[in-house]
Amino acid sequence: MADSAALYRTVRLIRRFEQQAIEMVRSGLIAGGIHPYIGEEAIAAGVCAALRPDDFITSTHRGHGHVLAKGSDPARMLAELAGRATGLNGGRGGSMHAADVSAGIYGANAIVGASAAIAAGAAWSHRRSGRDTVVATFFGDGAVNQGVLLETLNLAALRRLPVIFVCENNGFATSMRVQDTTAGTITGRAEAFGIPARTVDGMDPEVVLAAAASAVARARAGDGPAFLECLTYRFDAHHTWEYAVRPRYRTEEEVAAGRVRDPVEIQAARVPPALRARIDDEIEELLEEARRFVDASAEPDPAGALDYLYADGLRARAGSI
């Protein structure tokens, strides 16, 4: 079980990583922009601290935090965002598809709600091969109205699969407020399928960890899926295009109020200052090194743009012959 310092290290790493990634979006080093996870770090940190290295996760378009918390290499993750050959996916996935199977990450997914069914299938397959691994699947409040996610809740409950459904309720599906998109309750959806569901403070890493740990223990013991609704707030943009477009769907006052409880500060208060300073320094060093790694990494060779399209190496016809 992770201690307070380890949780602090994770939320701080995600925060600083995202801040660095945003700078790299602004300077043009990261194409296409990102969906910053800033403000929601406690969820990835708490849930992943409850998992073993051989457990798996599936993630979302806002997935950097999950990838880092599950233990992937920040340098290779940053290189993936920058589209370098040394990135986790060799520059083929980018922010919305970062995957690291060696660290138990089946990948971020750019279609809202899409990865839960993949997680359920993986959990079924793992269990069938005699492993006691658990799969945690992250999604936002926007996903709870996607049919495939609701279908998956039924399937996972029916087959008592070791899946932890983690809803990161940040109050907004892009610009749409949860109360304008969601009838009933979020946990009520899970409960309708007989899945135990809890709503927890998603700003406090230790609260998330405690809730996740009991859900994981239950799933690992063969007692089936669990559902966690983690209440959180997205401090930054839905996507970095907001910096240019400046859509008005929440006021500055509201954002300021939402940022009062900061997961990094909440966890920082639990770590002795000297240790905290050491962790902070270590993270700065790690991220500087990651940045140097990106700068030293080559862009992928355009001749290989169709590499990996087929697992058996089939070469697709070129677009101009």
Partner: protein, 323 residues
């Protein structure tokens, strides 16, 4: 020799692969009682851990197969109705198909999608009569449409052993086919390799799936007047362009009969590729469903929108005269 039916061939392929490889499992609706006659006996033989009756949640169980495949399973997903593919286009085209490239080769997705009654069964109307194989060839999912029982066996075996998603269309129009086969000779048929059912010197007819049998019948009718080569691609993607080029070297004339809607159907791709790259001495023709076809219910109306032997014969005669 014993007679092997088309659906029985699919059933034998499933059983043989499940016997050979414990990673192979089958997901679908009503497969325990084998409503579409291809999963017969599998539940009893391999048990409910490998033959899984799913709730009517096609989107979830299609991506469930993707997740299972990432983690070592080799699922076969059966769909009773071809139009269900429209529900799961996201799960196949946008998820399963893209994972290998998007992850830089970290995962492979060895899933087979099996459509044992694709196309028209006459009288099943607008939402049960589609034949959307061209859509999958377009997005780059490996796509096979066997015409005969032995090919159905061999191509399904190869699909299951393939490390990428493969979709297998078993046209309803071929389901009643039976073939004299020594069961001991049933063997895998490699993906991407065409078959010439009947050699000819005047016109190459590329026929897809069940239409191979119509093409053979028309070739018989025309024998003596026009020598028709009946070319069965068997796999639509990847297409055996080399074999087609060889056939057209001999004939220089091309007709395609394809149960797709006309716009952007595989027939259009075959004509385009032949026109760009191959030996043609006369303008080619294709016989297809009309643009945007929705098959109406009444038998006469349903049949009116499917490619016919009469249309094929007229097309062959026109191309044979063309210059």
């Amino acid at each position: 020799m014993p007679l092997l039916s088309y659906l029985r061939a699919l059933n034998r392929a499933l059983a043989a692969e499940m016997e050979r490889d414990p990673a192979v499992c089958v997901f679908g609706e009503d497969i325990g009682i084998a409503v579409s006659n291809v999963t017969t006996g599998l539940l009893k033989r391999f048990g409910p851990d490998r033959v899984i009756d799913m709730p009517i949640s096609e989107q979830a169980f299609t991506s469930f197969a993707t997740g299972a495949a990432m983690s070592g399973a080799r699922p076969v997903v059966e769909f009773q109705i071809p139009a269900l593919l429209f529900l799961v286009f996201e799960q196949i085209a946008n998820q399963a198909h893209k994972f290998s490239l998007m992850t830089g080769g970290q995962v492979k997705i060895p899933v087979t999608y099996l459509l044992p009654n694709s196309g028209s069964r006459v009288g099943w109307a607008g939402q049960h009569s589609d034949h959307p194989y061209s859509l999958f060839a377009h997005v780059g999912v490996k796509t096979v449409v066997p015409a005969t029982p032995a090919d159905a066996y061999g191509l399904l075996v190869s699909a299951i052993r393939d490390d990428d998603p493969v979709i297998v269309f078993g046209p309803a129009g071929a389901a009643a086919r039976r073939e004299d086969v020594d069961f001991g000779t049933l063997a895998p048929v490699p993906l991407g390799v065409a078959r010439v059912h009947r050699p000819g010197t005047d016109v190459t007819v590329v026929a897809v799936g069940h239409l191979v049998h119509d093409a053979l019948a028309v070739a018989d009718e025309l024998a003596g007047a026009i020598s028709v080569e009946v070319f069965d691609p068997r796999t639509l993607y990847p297409f055996d362009w080399t074999a087609l080029a060889e056939s057209l070297e001999r004939t220089g004339r091309l007709v395609v009969i394809d149960d797709s809607n006309r716009s952007c159907g595989i027939g259009g791709e075959i004509l385009a590729t032949a026109a760009e790259e191959m030996h043609l001495i006369a303008p080619p023709k294709r016989v297809t469903r009309p643009d945007g076809a929705v098959l109406p219910f009444a038998r006469e109306l349903d049949l009116a929108l499917q490619p016919t032997r009469g249309q094929l014969r007229a097309a062959i005669e026109a191309v044979a005269k063309g210059r």
